[in-house]
């Protein structure tokens, strides 16, 4: 069963006809040639396909494209602008936050979403007291690790990813 949908991907309006079974990840990669979101596990367990939908980080492999009709989708590709890389991308480079790079676009999108959640005051599992104020500046290493636990890195670049986000959270 086909459906015609419109997505705003990295600032560009894209219209495409998809089979209703198509995930957002497959629509982006295979139909729209937006290949920065990666297919890792395809079951929502690894985070490599993380994108921002309407500003929130989500795993695109568990969303049906047809259900996202009209959504604003930002991938790692769309985070940079004319002035250069997004600060989180810059921090990953500064701190050497990757090795093979496969998980990196998902890590970066997840980090951008995560920092926004912190900005909105969202607590996490390791937040000591739920009544304490939360902001990017309150994110210690434990907070960063917990909030980024949905993104796996099989090279094990976690130490430098945490360093990159510590830099970014406190900047």
């Amino acid at each position: 069963m086909d459906a015609r949908i419109m997505l705003r991907v990295d600032g560009r309006e894209r219209t495409v006809t998809v089979d209703t079974r198509t995930t957002l990840l497959d629509a982006l990669r295979d139909r729209l040639a937006v290949t920065s979101p990666k297919k890792g596990c395809d079951h929502g367990q690894c985070g490599a396909c993380t994108v921002l939908v309407d500003g929130r980080r989500v795993v695109s492999c568990l969303l049906l494209a047809v259900a996202q009709d009209g959504a604003e989708v930002t991938t790692a590709e769309g985070l940079a602008d004319e002035e250069g890389l997004h600060p989180v991308q810059r921090a990953f480079i500064d701190e050497d936050g990757f090795q093979c790079g496969y998980c990196t676009p998902g890590q970066v999108c997840s980090a951008v979403g995560m920092l926004e959640e912190a900005k909105q005051g969202h607590p996490s599992h390791v937040t000591e007291d739920l009544s304490d104020p939360v902001g990017p500046e309150t994110l210690d290493d434990d907070e960063i690790r917990e909030r980024m636990s949905g993104n796996l890195c099989r090279c094990g670049a976690y130490v430098n990813i945490v360093a990159a986000l510590r830099e970014e959270a406190t900047s």
Binding site: M1, R21, L63, A67, P123, S124, E128, L130, G150
Partner: protein, 340 residues
Amino acid sequence: MIPFDYRRVDDPAEAVAAVTGHPEAAYLAGGTNLVDHLKLGIAEPRTLVDVSRLGLDRVEELPGGGLRIGASVRNSDLAAHPLVRERYPALARALLAGASGQLRNSATTAGNLLQRTRCDYFQDVSTPCNKRVPGSGCSAIGGYTRHHAVLGASEHCIAVHPSDMAVAMVALDAVVVVLGDDRERTIGLTDLHRLPGDTPHRDTVLEHGELITAVELPDLPMARRSTYRKVRDRASYAFALVSVAAALDLDGDGGPDAAVRDVRLALGGVAHKPWRATRAEDVLRGMPANEDSFRQAAEAELADAQPQEGNVFKVPMTRNTVVAVLRDLAARRPSGGDAR
């Protein structure tokens, strides 16, 4: 994945009409469990009715101090909600202990309740499973049982319900509001999920087409002194081996050995449903709030536990977690912070 039609509706009654009487139609909300099941071949609906835009995405105060949580409220938003953090910290804690940041941003309140077991055999269509194919047998019994039930299981199914959120809600006396074809009804959350018996393919008492529209939490002052603790194989992003949600109300100022005036206790990771520990609660009321009482209560709840070969550890783990959680709650000031 078999082909299916997709329908987006914007009204709850329209959604119910689209699924009731259509056995091959199913609701789609956040999709974090259902889309995976479509891929795995566990679910094969011919029509998906998208219920994520029904205007059920608000958290509202009820007259008298409770909360009404719309079915489509995302898990992340519910966990961060100021009134949930203040009045029902166990619920915020349970939500934050579940899944990952990305999944909590997609997953909805009703979808979380209706998610299905992560039993390895249920999720592997090449193995017999009474929950997936009634009458085909249970591959878990005698198999890999680390994550399976120790309470309320049957010879047909030993799967556990995977939700964290539901365990806290069961402890907090939550009520589910359900819209059907011809009526709206409310169901106490303790009665929503079933024990497996000889019909483990039915997770809940809902009829096909019934739609959860909201979860209501009653005003429960003691819930301000509540928490949720999850024991799992990894520090983050793993399902519970055992979890405990509890709220505690002590006599007077709650000094050492003050009597337990009231208590709410529920267990996760141990049964086919979020397990309200009423036996333990009954033991505790009126007892001094000390370790002996907590242990006695936990042991009463676990008296009928029947572990499998691979999860014998769950019985002492549950007992010890109950004791630890109640001990921590008893040590807190009644209206103090929620620091663990």
